[in-house]
């Protein structure tokens, strides 16, 4: 517990609140960047991803009395990021319906040199996956989470994680294999 003094030098009168602040700062240092990257994979937009992750941190701060344990808090953050990304994506889909169609260009050629091409292809294929499959692939292969952790973050059963993973990976394989 961190000792915090108020203006009159009285120690630790608001220890619970300061503990939450310390915890948020520590969680930020440990997880913020990777959570933004996870959300970016899910949302395809860094700005939206940052907002979603910041929302999640504010929520954790609000629930700190209940969470306390940093491991629980990290799991809660992941859950919140996945859920909020889903909501944001639903909202964006509604907006997209009114947006003009993309020009028939060849955008994936933009970074078409050596390894960058493969990356562009995989990311494009990831974007084409159904949302649940995309979430599982990102949490497993980028965030390196176990099946149980993924199930917890997504609010589904471990069996469903397996099924989404195998379908997602099969779809991505068709993209990666021609590049081998």
């Amino acid at each position: 517990m961190t000792v915090v003094e108020d203006r009159r030098g009285r120690p630790a009168v608001h220890a619970v609140v300061s503990e939450a602040d310390v915890a948020i700062t520590e969680l930020y240092a440990a997880h913020y960047r990777s959570l933004v990257r996870i959300a970016t994979f899910l949302l395809h937009d860094v700005g939206s991803a940052e907002e979603v992750v910041q929302d999640a941190f504010v929520a954790v701060h609000g629930h700190w009395r209940r969470l306390r344990d940093p491991d629980k808090a990290a799991a809660y953050l992941r859950q919140a990021v996945v859920n909020r990304s889903r909501s944001r994506l639903r909202h964006l889909k509604v907006v997209d319906r009114h947006a003009p169609a993309a020009a028939p260009d060849a955008p994936s050629a933009e970074y078409g040199a050596i390894g960058a091409l493969e990356r562009t292809e995989v990311v494009a294929a990831l974007r084409r996956l159904p949302p649940r499959q995309r979430e599982v692939i990102v949490l497993r292969y980028y965030a390196d989470l176990s099946e149980a952790q993924i199930a917890d973050a997504m609010g589904i059963s471990p069996g469903a994680v397996k099924s989404h993973a195998s379908r997602g990976i099969a779809a991505l394989r068709t993209t990666l294999e021609p590049l081998s």
Binding site: T2, V4, E5, D6, R7, V13, H14, V17, S18, A20, D21, V22, I24, T25, E26, Y28, A29, Y32, R33, S34, V36, R37, T40, F41, V46, E50, V53, Q54, F57, V58, H61, G62, P104, D105, A106, S108, A109, E110, Y111, G112, A113, I114, L117, E118, R119, V122, V123, L126, I137, V138, Y141, Y142, D144, I169, L172, R173, L176, P178, L179, S180
Partner: protein
């Protein structure tokens, strides 16, 4: 490893590489604090004393975390100008409608210029009047294709600003356009603007294609004759032709050409050439049954000459060069890679002036080193690897010293440090030939900087930043950034924490992975390679090492690593560390 494992590893690698391009703005913690505070303000009438303690609490927390070091510094002290620290440097296309900023260092294009000096000479020689197309990226890209004899591909489909890695530039997509049919992109030409003054011209860095690529060959990778190059092609009916051309104005000259042998979505081609060492362009193009160019890729390579230093004057043994270079008794010496014995000296002994900070410019075939010239003085000298006169490469500034030069793999660009006798250090980036204004990045007061080398294929310089002899922090300087504080132009390199250890040196292997020398309790030096997913591979543990600076250098083929610590040189190859029994030698480089 099963194909499935390999496939999953590749997927993991691709996602991690893509994730690296996502850089949060750096003000996340501030925004969270503000929102927490706003939320508190709404509740303040209920709990009037919470707010004050909370603000103090968050501030105290920031101080606590600030002492953890590493990557945290970047997140807690956001700097909009820092690579990775601000949205201004976030990856992705820049807004259209403005010209790309002109660069004076940090990038080596392939056409029509291969250096900033050449671009400046073109400017001074009336180039903007004679070849006004050089001032327009789309027209420059079209002229590049003419130089490659692909002038049928002349329709510019799109032009937009881009930022590839840390380098700002323009990408121009060229291809075919026909009424009633979708556009067909043939190639995307990536250009940069070079030079100074009112009319800096554009130059091509490389061209990429969607369905045709060269694989297994890094940018500026070495080619020797004969060589087999490989790649992938998405259209199995296409014929692939591979050519090797000189870089720069002589691109019209073919050095070698071969029709590729097709495979399953892949091709291989064998090229034989007898050209002198230097920069070249490897061009792969696919054509349909009608002979029309369908896809075109052009990447920079380096031609390895017969006297290329990487194989050493004594050739190659055990997959690594037979000789290396190190400082022995205040002189630059060529040593035997097997025994560590001195084969010959490249410089004479000079009373009162030793040598340090050796760096081998494999492209130029010269050894750069710091030559002590007195109590405070030092300057960067160089000597040809094959023997010859020692010359001043970077003179010392008035009232100070220049030292610790590192050169890019493709040559031409150098970074070094300057230190005033009264204190105050700076990193300077410029061109080896001079003639281009160098860019200076002053270090914070009290900081000392040791440059470790350029990150392969990038204009970023890896360095160790330390304060008052304390444990150093690894940072990357982006030399395309304008002159200004070093802390602003650089960012922290996150390194995996090893209990009881601290970083003493680092380098990149030829595949671009970070390799660290960590000094650990008990006087051991652990050599670690940072793998995909921030996993760590311990390459070797060397006992009896000191906790002073450690020099690390891979041979260009990636077969063996030299480690210099405490006056001794060790060679790491095939999973073994061999301590060489030669004289006291420091700063070993292949």
């Amino acid at each position: 490893m099963t194909p499935y494992d390999d496939y999953e590893d590749r997927l993991r690698e691709v996602l991690l590489a893509e994730a690296e391009t996502v850089v949060p703005a750096g003000d996340g913690l501030t925004r969270i604090r503000e929102r927490v505070e706003r939320r508190r303000a709404r509740l303040r009438w209920l709990r009037p004393t919470v707010s004050l303690a909370a603000v103090a609490g968050v501030a105290a927390a920031a101080v606590l975390i600030g002492s953890v070091g590493g990557d945290v510094e970047q997140t807690l002290r956001p700097d909009p100008g820092t690579p990775g620290g601000g949205s201004a440097t976030a990856p992705g296309p820049m807004p259209t409608g403005t010209a790309a900023p002109a660069l004076t260092s940090g990038v080596t294009p392939i056409w029509p210029f291969t250096s900033v000096e050449a671009a400046q000479a073109w400017q001074a020689g009336g180039g903007p009047v004679a070849q006004p197309w050089s001032l327009d990226p789309a027209r420059t890209a079209a002229h590049f294709l003419v130089a490659l004899d692909a002038d049928a591909v002349s329709t510019v489909l799109s032009t937009k600003l881009e930022r590839l890695g840390a380098v700002p530039g323009v990408q121009v997509t060229l291809g075919y356009r026909a009424a009633g049919a979708p556009d067909r992109a043939v190639t995307v030409v990536h250009l940069v603007r070079l030079g100074t003054g009112p009319a800096p011209p554009y130059a091509v860095r490389f061209a990429g294609a969607y369905r045709l690529q060269v694989s297994g060959l890094p940018f500026f990778g070495f080619l020797h004759s004969p060589t087999t190059v490989r790649g992938t092609v998405r259209d199995t009916a296409a014929t692939v032709v591979v050519e090797l051309r000189r870089a720069g104005a002589a691109t019209g000259t073919r050095l070698a050409s071969a029709q590729a042998t097709p495979g399953a979505n892949a091709w291989t081609a064998r090229l034989a050439f007898s050209a002198a060492p230097g920069l070249a362009t490897l061009v792969a193009r696919s054509a349909g049954p009608d002979g029309r160019t369908e896809q075109l890729t052009a990447v920079p390579v380096r031609l390895r000459g017969p006297s290329r230093p990487a194989s050493g004057p004594g050739g190659s043994v055990g997959g690594y060069p037979a000789t290396f270079v190190a400082a022995v008794g205040g002189r630059v010496a060529v040593l035997d890679s097997g025994t560590g014995a001195v084969r010959r000296y490249l410089t004479d002994a000079q009373p009162g002036g030793g040598v340090a900070d050796l760096f081998l410019d494999t492209f130029g075939g010269r050894v750069y080193f710091t030559r002590g010239t007195g109590t405070c003085g030092a300057e960067v000298h160089s000597v040809p690897l094959t023997g010859g006169a020692e010359t001043v490469a970077i003179p010392a500034p008035a009232g100070g010293r220049s030292e610790n030069a590192v050169v890019t793999g493709e040559g031409g660009t150098v970074a070094y440090t300057t230190t005033a006798c009264s204190g105050g250090a700076a990193v300077v980036a410029g061109s080896l030939g001079g003639g281009v204004p160098a860019t200076s990045y002053p270090a914070p007061p009290g900081h000392s900087v040791r440059l470790l080398g350029y990150r392969p294929g990038t204009p970023q310089v890896l360095y160790l930043d330390s304060v008052g002899g304390a444990t150093g922090t690894l940072r990357l300087l982006d030399t395309t950034r304008p002159a200004g504080p070093l802390a602003t132009a650089s960012s922290v390199v996150p390194t995996p924490t090893q209990s009881g250890c601290h970083d003493l040196g680092a380098t990149y292997d030829p595949a671009g992975r970070l390799v660290l020398a960590a000094g650990c309790a008990g006087g051991t030096v652990r050599v670690l390679r940072v793998e995909v997913g921030n996993r760590v591979a311990v390459l070797a543990t060397v006992t009896g090492g000191s906790l002073g600076p450690v020099a690390l250098d891979w041979d260009p083929a990636g077969q063996a690593l030299l480690l210099g610590a405490d006056g001794h040189v060790s060679r790491l190859d095939g999973g073994r560390a061999t301590r060489l029994s030669g004289p006291v030698a420091t700063w070993p480089v292949w």
